[in-house]
Amino acid sequence: MIISVASGKGGTGKTTVALNLALSLSNVQVQLLDCDVEEPNSHIFLNPVIEETKPAQTLVPKVNYELCDYCGKCAPACEYNALVVLPEKEVMVFPELCHGCGLCSLVCPQEAISEEPREIGVIKKGRSGDGKIDLVYGLLNIGEVKATPLIDQVKAELNPAKTVIIDVPPGTACPVIAAVQSTDYCILVTEPTPFGLYDLKLAVEVLRVLKIPFGIVVNKAGIGDRKVYEYCAKEGIPILLEIPHDKRIARYYSEGVPFVREMPEWEERFAGMMKSIKEYVG
């Protein structure tokens, strides 16, 4: 079973929920995929022993000038303006604009365009200090624009024999789609505030478009107002768990400590949430 943990708004507690859930499942093997490749944080809490680091790459065009006759067909074909042909001189490639679709090499009548890999980040694989959780996370290179290919490559490491938990980046755009797609269930984490509610509604729309079943975890319960609860009741969205706004939990988070390790009474609640999700997914 593959479970994604997402939220429209950032900083609502996705990583907190993903980690503490992973640590509360004692009788299954868990793999945690941190797909927030722009700002991954799970490893801070797990202190993993990294067993493998490999480059994540995308393909960019490479022009063979012995074959190129500067016909100029590649540049207008590219939807992303990643190529410019200077007649009789050069084909300029802008790798940061390239999506790696391969169309330029398909349209080139001289077969002068091949593709070469370009590193956009790294993928790290390891195990939590206690050996219980497999962790895979991506780290996007500084200055790199597109997170989606790296997210896809982190997800390619998915081990279907395990219970997989995916930590999703914030927002509602393409990186979120890449991370939540093909998951069996999505836990949406929100906080009971106007910002939390507005962004929750957007995230709900995304999941309805993608037809992924979902439920809500209300984090920092007790702050703000009741409107998130009213919205969930009206829409018939299940509230799976409430985590109170608690100084101790905030403190453990700030120290990089998953709070179930210090407050073991929560293990049962996270495990209970997993049980109800399992029953729902069937």
Partner: protein, 294 residues
């Protein structure tokens, strides 16, 4: 004209809370919400929309099923796994995955595929109690958020020129990728909002490298600094070592959430108790004004 972008790397550190208050405190400015996929600033500033503009960011492959012979060339060609066949309905384009590259269109022997423009969001120019505001809403499950950020910034720039404004205040997105980079180009100062947690510190280091990579002057705000004063100390030491100025520190203060629930920037929120956070934000704003003028 000066431009300030407020970003954070990590989400939920308080960008929008700060920009909302700066909108009250700054004079003669245009406000731009560049967190286009999850914008929240409008919940504090209540913009009255004056113009609404369609945003056509990306194209999408559209399949004419009457021409399709189910040969499967499109699926083989597509690098984004955006075309697949199902038993019931044959080949179809997955809109959420299609990046609009056109490779399938080029390869289809039946000419059953075409690239079509689609509206992937809206950009707005509005007025608020505190001045003009440029903002947007990306449709859900869309890409090209960076292009929409660029459009919002262009709208803000034109409005500022028309109204003779000297400052553009930009609320950025979380992360370090496409929308963030689009909100950084050519700005005079990037205010990075962080919090004293190990995640906050980790993400601060990464976003600061991005800001430096694009040669923008950074300044740091430590929000909720009393949550963990040891980590606050670590952040301060890190900033000293990097030579990065700390524009201000703000206490954790319930008033911020109360003001948010009331839909008001915290510096304009009338409460029975004096809000320390509001005072600290005001002090920080005056410091930022001076840094920006340098």
């Amino acid at each position: 004209m000066r431009q300030l972008t407020v970003i954070s790397g990590k989400g939920g550190t308080g960008k929008t809370t700060l920009v909302g208050s700066f909108a009250v405190l700054a004079e003669n400015k245009v406000i731009a919400d560049c967190d286009v996929d999850a914008p929240d600033l409008h919940l504090l500033l209540h913009p009255e929309i004056l113009t609404k503009q369609e945003f056509k960011g990306v194209k999408i492959a559209v399949m004419d099923k009457t021409l399709c012979t189910e040969c499967g060339t499109c699926e083989e060609t597509c690098r984004f796994n955006a075309i697949a066949s199902t038993e019931e309905s044959g080949y179809a384009v997955n809109q959420a995955r299609c990046e609009g590259c056109g490779a399938c269109v080029f390869m289809c022997p039946q000419e059953a595929l075409t690239l079509q423009e689609r509206v992937s969001g809206y950009a707005f120019i509005s007025k608020t109690k505190y001045g003009a505001m440029a903002h947007a809403q990306l449709n859900v499950a869309e890409e090209a958020s960076g292009k929409l950020v660029t459009l919002v910034r262009e709208n803000a720039r034109q409005t500022a020129e028309k109204e003779g404004c000297e400052l553009i205040l930009i609320d950025g997105a979380p992360g370090i990728g496409c929308p963030v980079i689009a909100s950084l180009g050519g700005v005079d100062l990037a205010l990075i909002v962080t919090e004293p947690t190990q995640s906050g510190l980790h993400d601060l280091k990464r976003i600061l490298s991005v800001v430096e990579h694009f040669s923008v002057k950074p300044s740091v705000c430590i929000n909720k600094y009393d949550i963990n004063e040891e980590v606050t100390g670590e952040i301060e030491a890190f900033c000293r070592e990097k030579g990065t100025e700390i524009a201000g520190k703000i206490l954790y203060d319930d008033t911020i959430t109360k003001a948010m629930v009331a839909g008001v920037p915290v510096v304009a929120f009338e409460s029975e108790l004096k809000s320390t956070a509001a005072e600290e934000i005001t002090l920080m704003w005056h410091r930022i004004e001076r840094i920006i003028q340098q």
